[in-house]
Symmetry: C2
């Protein structure tokens, strides 16, 4: 009566697996493109699929405000609405309420905020968040939590983490278990080992279908993030998937996989693509830079995406200079494909037992920096 | 040593033909999507091709300013630059110089204007316009002309038309004739029959590879446009293609085809698509309208494009309300496909000798207006 998670291989702490949802299977480690408002920005669903993505993320906050969860349900659910027949994970709305909404009140009951769209006052409780995710028909739902800001005092982090534990329990009660559907708990506690430990143990005691590590990649830096994972991940059950929320750059992902993380989501490939930044095997490059203006070479020689096989750097540069929509379209496509190619490499390396080597080589190539100008 | 144009069928004055350029064949009557700055906005070239388009238009004015004709030539020409291996027609730059550039001087020699991008002062002569189009590697080049504004005094229209005739002659001298490449003259003269007649006769005397009718669809109204075509088109040689510049809505195209026009271009399907307007068999609809918010039906039941086969009106409505890039992408795709479906219907009807009937039925369906709300 839940979502199956199968572990196929291990390489030290890194894991190769499969999650089997009501809407299909996703190979792990998996990267989930972010489809905020029912669309991975600048992409048709078929194009998202072509990058290799098998599961996408939807944002409860955005969808509850517009078009509204009840409306999506009436139209057949989020899969049908956005034409993504595969697995969908939705966040709980908590993170965006705090970053985008104008917070009015936060207490044990839940949060009350003003919509950033029309200023309407809206309440979000653990029960309502789960109901919204049910209405959207998310394969994987997340408990409502409070994501503490950075930096935060220990006392504040503790209070927030305990609040989130209470919400997690209520979220679990509100969740309707069904075959192929999952509810994940979210470990909080900022960078405080004892708080992370308390949070992880309490959540494991509630027996969730999967466990997320939240409240990281908020400014603490990669070293602190990895250290926090080193403390947290070993406390999570082997048999359940682990999801590091909102992470990250390729080297963040490589390090987190080495620490036993199975799932990721991040706006970087899509958001940076829209502003002209491309991820390549040799690091990040800014396509608006004048050095690309007459460069007939592809963004990344090794990439098989349409942006790289059909267009020159000079053309992509031109599109961004001319503010043409095709620029964001092509770079979003490229960046998502770059991420999925990375994830495939990760999965293959774990299966082959060569993950440490793969990770080191990938990071070394990133450090090389862009190919020399012509 | 020019571009082949083959007439396959006639139905009254309507013509079914083929233009055979250095980069492939286009069936006529043809509608050319506008690829202003080396991209049909919001579309990948493969998607443009999937709509049924065989020839696209590029704007000399935009491309000469950015990225620059010499740069495009260095990168292998416009076909390679924008990954459109098929036929390309470029305008001469004159129209946009006058509508977008800050005009500094216009005389027999040419025009001097300030770029709308960076204010640089730039000269455009008939010879330079032809050189730019050569550098871009346009299959069909247009002579530089002055497009008179609307309304215009006869005296002014006459002076402008004569200036354009002089420029046409110089354009022809500057053009390098090659197999599969064509230069079109442009008939001017506003809505004055004698001026149109003088312009058409003089241009035909210069023996162009094709003839455009310019200076229409600038505010004179459909009746006046059709009347001007009635005067102008019969003066053009049967054996050469005829192009009505910047036209238009489906009913404009239907009426112009009935008067012997073979080629069209217009920004309406792309521009209106970006603002949420959809062309359907039952007229134009605004997808931002609240009546679509919960409508599970496709934009147009009869349309085979991805926007119509995979998404609801409710979803497209949502995308525009949320300012998601996928909205313009989907509606541009839909509108271009709608236009190409219209053109295919036109071609089939001419071949079958049923054009008058097809045109009447198509217009009658447009007049029905949108399907009733659910």
């Amino acid at each position: 009566m839940s979502m199956e998670f199968q572990l196929l291989a291990r390489d030290a702490a890194a894991r190769r697996g499969q999650i089997k949802t009501a809407h299909g299977t996703a190979e792990t480690p998996a990267f989930m493109p972010v489809g905020t408002a029912g669309t991975v920005k600048a992409m048709l669903p078929d194009q998202v699929r072509e990058t290799g993505a098998e599961i996408v993320l939807g944002n409860t906050y955005h969808l509850m405000l517009r078009p509204g969860a009840e409306r999506v349900a009436k139209l057949g659910g989020l899969h049908k609405f956005m034409d993504w027949p595969g697995p969908i994970l939705t966040d709980s709305g908590g993170f965006q309420v705090m970053s985008l909404g104008q917070l009015r009140r936060l207490d044990q009951r839940g949060v009350v905020f003003r919509s950033h769209i029309d200023g309407a006052e809206i309440a979000l409780t653990p029960e309502r968040s789960i109901e919204i995710q049910f209405l959207l028909d998310a394969d994987i739902s997340m408990v409502l939590d409070e994501c503490t800001t950075w930096p935060v005092e220990r006392r504040e982090a503790e209070k927030s983490m305990r609040l989130s534990l209470g919400w997690a329990e209520r979220s679990k009660k509100a969740f309707r278990a069904r075959r192929g559907y999952a509810l994940f708990g979210i470990v909080q506690g900022s960078v405080f080992d004892e708080l992370r430990t308390e949070s992880a143990k309490a959540l494991v005691g509630m027996a969730f279908d999967g466990y997320a590590v939240g409240g990281l990649a908020v400014g603490e830096g990669q070293a602190e993030m990895f250290r926090t994972l080193d403390v947290t991940v070993p406390l999570l059950p082997e048999a359940r998937p682990r999801y590091l929320m909102g992470v990250g750059r390729p080297d963040d992902i490589l390090g987190a996989v080495a620490r036993g993380i199975d799932m990721f989501d991040c706006v970087l490939p899509t958001r940076m693509g829209r502003t002209g930044k491309a991820f390549t095997r040799r690091g990040e490059i800014n396509m608006r830079n004048a050095r690309h203006a007459e460069d007939p070479r592809p963004i990344d020689e090794s990439c098989a995406c349409p942006a790289c096989t059909r267009f020159s750097r000079a053309y992509v540069h031109h599109l961004f200079k001319a503010a043409e929509m095709l620029g964001p379209m092509l770079l979003t496509r490229h960046n998502l494909q770059h991420y999925q190619t990375l994830m495939r490499g990760i999965r293959e390396a774990i299966a082959a037992g060569t993950y440490a080597d793969f990770s080191a080589k990938t990071c070394a190539e990133i450090d090389l920096g862009d190919v020399p100008a012509l």
